[in-house]
Symmetry: C3
Subunit: 155 residues, 3 copies
């Protein structure tokens, strides 16, 4: 094994305006409470027995594996939404699945869609679903806006 397998996870989300798209993204990370860490994007599994916890204050600059959805646009008036869902199997020795989705659409639509994605993903694994957890966030762009939702993995 190259990396330690995560033993904890939690959900975060945020929105922001910014000077550029990358600044808006950075602002959304700050709003989500993880703006001073180094996100390493990964595809998208909750390891077996990985505990759902409250938001952990991460050390500044630490490298953090994360599954996320984000969307940035520079069209004033547009609604942007980002959402993540985790589907947990009944059999706790099996991994859960995280899905990410973002779109220029309302939050309820985006969240419903990402939940269906997670459900289909666990069905394909022939696993009975114990629970699906999701979060979603929306923002209406003023100038340059971003929405961000994530599952953070930690140890």
């Amino acid at each position: 094994m190259i990396f330690k397998t995560p033993t904890k996870h939690f959900f975060v989300f945020g929105t922001s305006e910014g000077y550029t798209m990358l600044n808006a993204f950075d602002g959304a990370l700050l709003d989500a409470g993880i703006g001073n860490t180094n996100l390493v994007k990964m595809s998208s599994i909750v390891p077996p027995h990985c505990k759902l916890v409250d938001h952990i204050k991460l050390p500044q600059g630490s490298l953090v594996p994360v599954a996320y959805a984000s969307i940035c646009q520079a069209e004033p008036g547009v609604t942007l939404s980002a959402a993540v869902a985790a589907a947990y199997p009944e059999d706790e020795s099996q991994a859960g699945l995280i899905m990410e989705y973002s779109a220029p659409a309302r939050k309820d639509i985006v969240e419903k869609h990402v939940r269906a994605m997670a459900e289909k993903g666990l069905e394909r694994r022939n696993l009975k679903i114990k629970e699906i957890r999701s979060i979603a966030v929306q923002t209406i762009v003023e100038s340059i806006g971003a929405a961000f939702a994530a599952v953070v993995l930690w140890d």
Copy 2:
């Protein structure tokens, strides 16, 4: 050093249909036998003395460094191919090079192209090539399809 340097590697590939593009991608990972891990994408070196091994069953949810090509499309009837090639130098104290390529094209074309990419990359390093290994996979899209090929690094 932040991370351990990989000592083993192996090739995988898969294809899938899915409910969304991300579900098709997830299905292709499952088909490739690495769908229950957390892929961390990296650019694309075989460390010196990193052994080519048979497919290792990776722990569920583990973080896995991987060099990959993938392509997802929602156009029925289109052929999608993904391929990776690793060029190994004669001088085994030197690193090998992985190249990735995907396109809406036939597998033989995509594989030939990615092999040429790996060859050119090692030539640029002024290294004599001992061997080029590659894999490629194709699928014809029914509704929403994905093709995926990767070199997985491990320890």
Copy 3:
């Protein structure tokens, strides 16, 4: 914590032509002196007390967290630039911020822009700026060209 937090960082940049866009990117990494490592892209913080050092010769094939800007194009005659900037706060117990920007534009324009991005990012954190460091590089495309600039984190 899953990964070690980086304690050192340094700036690199490079340009290249290549057989394909990925080969040009690979060539730019070689030109930057990090072409034989496995880059893991991350968003984009300088941890507190993370020292700025001279270019470290990294072990071949090692996994390297890096914040980077890159741009590849196949339009002969076009000027491509890539730049990164790090804004360091006066309060050294706080993290610094890295911003990345690339565009088909002159290097001075791209560098000025990325410096402004880093400045705005630290302002949003209500931190006084001690210093902004940046590098930028440009190339004029002959056939298929790439420009690359990065902050490499290490331990």
